[in-house]
């Protein structure tokens, strides 16, 4: 009899462990996993500074002239590196400040010629790289903006690796240093900002109010503030106060204000004011419509369930499986404990 009880207890424990193991296995199989924690990044490998000035570059000229300047590239590491220099056009980042675009060179960046683009540097070494800016004879307007962008060649090579044998959703990172260049030509300096349109737009991340802005004039706007509210009838559905960085003339900007929750079909009233520094403010008082087509697109595009954290969260059914396994294990352990505590009867 004692032997039988022991066997029953052992079987119960094994069954409990099996249930727990299945629950744990299913949990680990379903969880979005983070392959490895992010290591601490190393320090900067290089720096780039203007020669003969600090901060931004500023050149004065006239149409048809060739202007000269130089930048200094410095290796901050104890090993040899190659720094890649690129000329860049300046456009507006989505919330203001310069976005350095090295892809085309169709803007003012195309006026630049660098003496060299690949700068190989010995440990702790520096090198000056000259550049020219050829102002077209047809150039008009008092200010033209471009930039010189520096990148560690190793970063570019890593980003161009196309994933290799990676099996996860991975991210490359490129660290760039940019030096802005202003080319000032004769002419009056003026600033202006226009709101071309406002609309509700749908993206996979949700709905948003888009303000299509166009800075004008001949000089950048240092900053701007936006204060607006969106109403339907007497109900305020969205209120926003935001700041924009530097805004460059002639470059459009689509500023997006995330919508809290989901808009519903129909019209909304947008009212408020945009105040650019050094330019006339803009009053906003217009209607935007959330069409049935956009409502359908929003339903299709956005997740029905709240977000899943790759590093820690698990689907609800996994939690239920784990809870069931734990409950089963607990019940079996209690059974074993009770069996063990029962007094032994002599065998007849």
């Amino acid at each position: 009899m004692t032997h039988l009880r022991r066997r029953a207890g052992t079987s119960a424990v094994l069954a409990g462990l099996t249930i727990a193991a299945f629950a744990a296995a299913s949990a680990s199989a379903a969880t979005p996993t983070a392959p490895a924690p992010a290591p601490k990044p190393a320090g900067p490998t290089f720096s780039v500074t203007p020669v003969g000035s600090s901060g931004a570059l500023l050149l004065h000229g006239t149409p048809g002239r060739v202007l000269h300047g130089a930048v200094r590239v410095h290796n901050t590491t104890g090993h040899t590196i190659t720094v890649v220099l690129r000329r860049a056009d300046v456009r507006n980042a989505s919330n203001g400040n310069a976005d350095y675009d090295t892809s085309s060179g169709s803007g003012t960046g195309g006026w630049l010629r660098l003496a060299t683009t690949d700068v190989r540097l010995a440990p702790r070494a520096s090198r000056d790289v000259a550049f020219t800016a050829t102002v077209p004879t047809t150039a008009t307007g008092a200010s033209h903006y471009a930039g010189i962008v520096a990148v560690d060649a190793k970063d570019l090579a890593s980003a161009a690796g196309k994933g290799g044998k990676k099996r996860s959703f991975s991210f490359n990172r490129v660290t760039r240093q940019a030096l802005p260049l202003t080319i000032r030509l004769p002419g009056p300096l003026t600033r202006s900002l226009a709101l071309r349109s406002a609309a509700i737009n749908v993206q996979p991340v949700g709905a948003g109010l888009i303000l299509n802005l166009l800075p004008g004039g001949t000089e950048l706007i240092q900053s701007a503030t936006i204060r607006l509210r969106v109403t339907r009838g007497s109900t305020v559905v969205l209120r926003s106060t935001a700041g924009l960085g530097q805004l460059f003339p002639g470059e459009p900007l689509a500023y997006r204000i995330p919508w809290r929750g989901k808009p519903t079909k129909g019209s909304y009233q947008v009212s408020g004011v945009i105040t650019p520094r050094g330019a006339a403010p803009i009053s906003i008082n217009q209607q935007v419509t959330f069409t049935p087509a956009k409502a359908a697109a929003l339903k299709q595009a956005t997740p029905a369930l709240p977000g899943t954290a790759a590093s820690s969260s698990m689907p609800m059914w996994v939690w239920i499986a784990l809870a069931a396994g734990a409950a089963g294990l607990l019940a079996l352990l209690i059974t074993v404990w009770k069996l063990a505590r029962r007094p032994l009867r002599p065998v007849a």
Partner: protein, 190 residues
């Protein structure tokens, strides 16, 4: 003896004091004219971009949002100019093996920047501002901005758990995706 020495000692002491005064005056004058000279050369504006944790997920047939961790980063303004700076981020559309997938996940990355804190040894009080969560795409977005007179020295951005959201469309193609995030630091345009 006492009466003889007393005036003499007094006179000698007075003479020594006068001579000493003449000796001290030029020394003091010399001390006032001796400046500690030296030049503090301008350093550079640099940044260290964060490492972003890769993840694995299973397609479910409906659009889902995956969140992943963003590592620590920093920006250092050693220019001594106090001109300020900005940090912008752009992202390429996720691709599989360098090729845009049929059903990609473009414009679906959202980054939540963490606040900047002065690094140990940086006494500056006013740091750069950080932006609200920004959608990442080909056009860069500003995630941190130091106005003129702020943000000098080294500033650290703490690692943020789940600070990058990736929306995976329900009809996305299976594969090993990768996206390149470019972090650019620049002084303000003159």
């Amino acid at each position: 003896m006492r009466s003889f020495l007393h005036p003499r000692v007094t006179r000698v002491t007075a003479a020594i004091a006068v001579v000493a005064a003449f000796a001290v005056v030029p020394v003091a004058a010399q001390a006032a004219d001796t400046d500690a000279t030296g030049t503090l050369a301008a350093g550079a504006l640099t940044n260290v971009a964060p490492v972003i944790t890769p993840f694995n997920a299973t397609l479910t047939g409906v659009t889902q949002t995956i969140q992943t961790d963003v590592g620590a980063s920093s920006v250092t303004d050693a220019t001594g100019s106090g001109a300020g700076y900005s940090v912008t981020v752009s992202a390429t559309a996720p691709t599989v093996g360098g090729v845009a997938a049929g059903a990609g996940t473009g414009s679906t990355l959202t980054l939540t920047p963490t606040d900047a804190t002065a690094a140990a040894g940086n006494p500056a009080l006013v740091g750069p501002d950080t932006s609200a969560p920004v959608a990442l795409g080909a056009v860069a977005a500003t995630i941190s901005n130091a106005a003129a007179g702020s943000g000098q020295g080294e500033w650290d951005y703490a690692a943020g758990a789940n600070d990058l959201s990736v929306v995976i469309p329900g009809d996305a193609s299976a594969g090993a995706y990768s996206s390149t995030l470019t972090f650019t630091t620049a002084p303000p345009v003159a």
